[in-house]
């Protein structure tokens, strides 16, 4: 489809997605402006202000999206492997040359521009995953191919982890959503959820009690299924095996990870999430009764959100956010600004907008003829879902404080451009949904 007929082309573009995109971007800009605005602010057009920089990135994003809309959709699968390679290369360079900001070296400085390759590589990984899974040779039911796909998705995460950007690295796990859609067995997701449940339970309960609980549950399962077990011996062994694995995991692996592998602040964040204080065993001698930074951030964030009330304090009247009570409020905690100024009503609308965006992408994914487009769409949906869940959850105190931005709303050029590009690539692919791309 090298020539584009404007009339038919425009009809194929998904207007709903563009509308949702524009609404979210506008909310983001307003929120950043409100945070920056003080009574002493003079004039709107001040280049040193964050909101102006965000505006500039928005304009750049628009230009790029126009270019994307007029690009041949075949370009994207064709460029997938190349871009992935470039992305990995950039990540490795950053690992060596990256500038250290807040303890992590994930920024690459080129002249006046700072870029965070970890953000861009999400896009490249989504492309390469789509390309790999859609290729004719790949049979996803084949275990080997599954492992290759997982490797492609998680390899950047490992490099990013080395850059000490735990939060961004975790995002790459969201590609499992796309892989699940393409046929990853249920047990893998069950295993994932099971492990998370076990970890949390281990942290909440004392080890002894939990061990006894596991034993009791296993015995109960064996007892209630004794007739089945009589027929089939392997059922018994499976149950006992699962119980033993659970025991080893909770008694040995979790404590080992918490004391030896994770950093003190990471332990602290995880405990903050589940609303517990770090026990002495894991605190590694760092607990001195002083409120940790993460606890402080979450408390201030909750205070700001709560103070919004039902209708909010009104535009530019957010005292908590405006007067620096909430840290990191332009980036990770931008939701506080929305919640304080526009209250429950405004924040509910924002949440609904996000859910609508993700569901719309999911809907678009299902109508693709091309597997490439579908995998890419689910990759995007997964990333968005993970970002929204963790970021909003963190500001309202139901998720660990890991520094990832709120898509399209938080201040940050790379993040904004990455999501803009991904959404418009999806729109471009969707315009050619009747085609089969490989």
């Amino acid at each position: 489809m090298s020539t584009i007929n404007p009339k038919t082309y425009l009809k194929k573009i998904d207007g709903v997605l563009i509308l949702l995109y524009l609404l979210l971007v506008a909310i983001g800009f307003i929120s950043i402006y409100a945070v920056e605005h003080t009574s002493q602010s003079q004039g709107f057009f001040q280049m040193d202000r964050s909101y102006m920089r965000q505006l500039i990135f928005l304009c750049i994003g628009m230009l790029i999206s126009v270019v994307i809309l007029f690009t041949d959709s075949k370009t994207f699968p064709n460029l997938a492997f190349l871009s992935y390679g470039v992305g990995i290369f950039l990540l490795l360079i950053t690992l060596v040359l990256g500038r250290e900001v807040n303890g992590s070296s994930s920024f690459l400085v080129v002249g006046p521009i700072q870029i965070q390759p970890a953000e861009m590589v999400k896009f490249f990984t989504a492309l390469v995953l789509a390309k790999f899974l859609s290729s004719v040779e790949t049979n996803y039911l084949d275990k080997r191919n599954r492992y290759i796909a997982m490797g492609l998705a998680l390899f950047p995460a490992v490099i990013i982890l080395l850059q000490k950007e735990t939060g961004v690295a975790l995002v790459y796990f969201s590609f499992f959503l796309a892989m699940y859609r393409e046929g990853l067995p249920n047990w893998i997701l069950l295993l994932g959820f099971g492990l998370i449940f076990l970890t949390v339970a281990t942290l909440l309960m004392s080890q002894m009690v939990f061990a006894i609980l596991i034993a009791v549950v296993a015995l109960f399962v064996i007892f209630s299924n004794r007739k089945k077990i009589k027929k089939k011996k392997s059922y018994l062994f499976n149950t006992i095996g699962i119980a033993v694995v659970a025991l080893i995991f909770s008694q040995v692996l979790v404590p080992f990870t918490f004391t030896k592998v994770l950093k003190a602040y990471q332990v602290e964040r995880i405990y903050t999430m589940i609303g517990q204080e770090v026990p002495e065993v894991y605190s590694q001698g760092k607990d001195n009764g002083i409120e940790s930074a993460a606890e402080y951030n979450v408390r201030q964030s909750k205070i700001a959100i709560a103070s919004g009330g039902f209708l909010g304090k009104g535009f530019l009247n957010g005292e908590q956010t405006k007067n620096d009570w909430v840290p990191e409020q332009r980036t990770d905690f931008i939701f506080c600004s929305v919640a304080e100024q526009f209250g429950f009503l405004g924040s509910m609308i924002l949440v609904i907008l996000y859910m609508a965006l993700i569901l719309r992408i999911s809907f678009i994914a299902e109508r693709q003829r091309s597997k490439f487009s579908r995998v890419f769409a689910y990759g995007l949906a997964g990333i968005l879902f993970f970002h929204v869940l963790i970021n909003l959850g963190m500001t309202i105190g139901i998720a660990p404080v890991i520094g990832i931005p709120l898509p399209l709303v938080s201040y940050g050029g790379t993040s904004l451009l990455t999501f803009t590009i991904m959404i418009f690539v999806l729109i471009r692919l969707d315009a050619d949904r009747s085609m089969i791309l490989r």
């Binding site: 959503l177 909750k302 959100i305 709560a306 103070s307 007067n323 009570w325 999911s362 879902f385 309202i396």
Partner: protein
């Protein structure tokens, strides 16, 4: 192959929606329902600032301000805002401070308070000191001036009745009266500052301010919708004549005693001196507490308001009152005479009289003019033993009722605190003294103002007002109007006309002509003022002091009461100078000069030397210092005993420590407690020289 599993997309979409619902539910609980976080937001972001109103001024009868607020300045700075090019040399030169001192001071303060907080560097600098700095504030970013109003007494007089202000103490805050006060607020402690506290203070305003995470104020909360403005305190307009006050205080300097002048018609106080006293400006500003300690330690008891708290036997100045009671009871007439030959022998023991010329008590007028002791002892006995009375007890009670009418024996109700009532002996008292076996002879000297009879100087002056007004008085008071309101609720008690025992005006004329005689040809010829008909009465009061349980006779108190002019009086005066001699020697001239100053607005050239003589005289008996040092010594020993008991392990319990000293409570002389460890000094001389 393309649609591996449609069902899974539904699973994922459900998951997304579920997460959305969870987040919205969580938001609902956080934002809509009440919780701790909502309260926390206001607590941390909104700061309640009290705006103190400016305190009311005191204005005298000639519209001169005698108590005002001067702006003093605290220099504060925020270390973070200081620039590296801060010109320390210039800054120090402007404030006239040593640069080294400045450097160490700032260093210490920053070490103590950190870099972010605003730190007070210097406190209470006078406006002259910071004037140059004020002009060039912009050259010193980070430095700010905080206005800090201070009470200023421009005439440096009037400490006993104006009083002073201080920060409210913990004990005061617990009282109902101070329920609107917070720690750090100031309140009047004594005098008018205390009595009119509510009016002078005004109403503090409240500002709600928004602050940021570094406690910096960034604006008003809700655009000041909840703020309230401060209402300035009301000015008090006084009857006082500040020039008269200044002159009187000067003349009373270095003497123990009191001088009070009242406008008879209104009861307004024209001058009020309790001596010795101190410069009230000592109790403002930076050295307040050090000065206060010194004042309390002074042997002459500077904080003791002799005008309303000290009680003296009135001596002969009481004789006009005795005469009035006798006339009203009908036991004598104005022509009644007594054959005094230099003493009163009717009760066996002689009561001496300074005159023995025949006929010096031929009638009431002459008896007053010549101050005959025998005459008034006899009149008093006639009153008490009057045939209308069943016995002497009823007689004394009747007499006490008269005294009560004259405002004696109980506090009159002046508008400053700490007023005492003096002493009029009761029937019970004589029962105790003489085992119920007594008659009018035992107390005949009451008639001449000696014995158990004790009056405050204010009561003496008020008695003069009654005579000057021919039968009524208004409660003596300082304040004419609060703001512009002369019928303020608080002033109502002072507007009421109090008629004394409905005594016949003719009786007054008889007494007044006697008092006129005192000046014309009697005991106080020196108190004459040319062109003014002065009426007065001298008093020379025998008195004793107790030292180590022994009763020692002291030099007489010099007392003088007067009013002028005779018709339509404008001023009534009572002056008492302790242990100085005859009434006409010290008190008489002082009272006369006061009246001349008030009525003529000036003192005639010929009498100026008299003013200087009064001012120069130092009449403080040595016994004052002896008694003071004995007292302090006793306290020191007591304190040492207590210390020893603490050291030896017999620690008093918390309750015991808190319990006030029973002695101190009975005597109510709280200032003595302060004076324990201070060495004896003669501060009053120092301040008055």
């Amino acid at each position: 192959m393309s649609d591996f599993n449609q069902r899974r997309s539904i699973v994922m979409q459900t998951l997304v929606m579920l997460v959305g619902v969870i987040i919205i539910l969580r938001l609902l609980f956080l934002q809509v329902f009440p919780n701790d976080f909502k309260i926390a937001s206001e607590n941390q972001a909104v700061k309640r600032k009290i705006v103190q109103p400016s305190r009311g001024l005191l204005i005298d009868r000639n519209n001169k301000t005698i108590l005002k607020n001067n702006m003093y300045y605290d220099i504060r700075f925020q270390p973070k805002k200081l620039k590296s090019n801060f010109d320390t040399v210039r800054f120090c030169r402007m404030l006239n401070i040593d640069q080294q001192h400045f450097d160490t001071l700032t260093y210490q303060k920053i070490m103590l308070n950190g870099w972010n907080r605003t730190i007070t560097l210097f406190k209470n600098l006078p406006p002259e000191g910071v004037a140059r700095l004020q002009e060039s504030m912009s050259d010193f970013p980070g430095i700010e001036l905080k206005e800090n109003p201070q009470r200023i007494y421009p005439y440096k007089v009037g400490a006993p009745f104006i009083g002073y202000i201080n920060e409210v103490s913990k004990e005061m805050l617990e009282r109902e009266k101070y329920k609107d006060y917070r720690r750090g607020d100031v309140a009047g402690i004594t005098g008018l500052e205390n009595y009119y506290e509510k009016e002078l203070r005004g109403i503090p305003g409240v500002q709600f301010l928004l602050q940021d995470v570094r406690q910096r104020v960034v604006g008003s909360y809700k655009n000041g919708a909840n703020d309230s403005l401060a209402t300035a305190g009301k000015n008090l307009k006084l009857y006082l004549d500040i020039e008269l006050q200044k002159l009187t205080e000067g003349m009373m300097a270095n003497k123990l005693g009191s001088a009070i002048a009242i406008e008879p018609e209104t009861g307004g106080i024209l001058a009020f001196v309790s001596s010795p006293t101190y410069d009230p400006n000592l109790l403002t500003g930076n050295d307040k507490s050090a000065n206060f300690k010194k004042i309390l330690a002074d042997a002459t008891k500077l904080t003791f308001n002799r005008g309303v708290s000290a009680k003296y036997p009135p001596g002969s100045t009481f004789k006009p009152v005795t005469a009035l009671v006798g006339l009203d009871m009908g036991v004598i007439s104005s022509s009644y005479g007594y054959p005094c030959g230099g003493g009163y022998y009717a009760c066996g023991k002689k009561i001496g009289c300074t005159h023995y010329g025949g006929g010096h008590a031929a009638n009431l007028t002459r008896a007053i003019a010549n101050s005959c002791n025998a005459y008034f002892c006899h009149v008093f006995r006639l009153c008490v033993d009057s045939p209308n009375n069943k016995n002497v007890r009823v007689g004394l009670k009747r007499w006490r009722n008269y005294m009560s009418d004259f405002g004696l024996g109980h506090p009159i109700g002046i508008d400053i605190p700490a007023e005492r009532g003096g002493n009029i002996p009761t029937v019970d008292y004589f029962d105790r003294m003489y085992a119920s076996n007594w008659n009018s002879c035992n107390m005949s000297i009451l008639g001449m103002g000696q014995g158990e009879l004790e009056l405050t100087p204010l009561q003496m002056a008020n008695s003069m007002c009654i005579i000057a007004n021919r039968g009524f008085y208004r409660v003596p008071h300082f304040v004419k109007a609060i703001g512009n309101d002369s019928t303020h609720k608080k002033l109502q008690p002072f507007l009421e006309k109090k008629v004394v025992a409905k005594i016949n005006p003719n009786d007054f004329e008889a007494v007044i002509s006697g008092m006129r005689g005192v000046i014309e040809y009697g005991t106080a010829r020196g108190a004459r003022i040319r062109g003014i008909e002065v009426c007065g009465k001298t008093g020379t009061v025998e008195n004793y002091t107790r030292l180590n349980g022994k009763k020692i006779k002291q030099k007489n108190h010099s007392v003088f009461v007067a009013f002028a002019p005779k018709d339509n009086p404008k001023i009534a005066v009572a002056v008492i100078v302790e242990n100085s001699g005859y009434g006409s020697q010290w008190a008489g001239p002082i009272a006369s000069l006061m009246m001349e100053r008030y009525l003529n607005d000036t003192i005639k050239g010929g009498r100026r030397y008299l003013v200087n003589r009064m001012k120069r005289a130092r009449i403080i008996p040595r016994i004052t210092y002896i008694k003071d040092s004995i007292e302090k010594n006793a306290r020191r020993i007591k304190y040492q005993k207590w210390l020893d008991s603490v050291k030896s392990g017999k620690k008093p319990t918390v309750e015991e420590q808190r319990k006030p000293n029973p002695d101190a409570k009975n005597k109510k002389s709280w200032w003595k407690v302060w004076a324990v460890v201070e060495p004896k000094n003669k501060l009053s001389e120092y301040y008055k020289s």
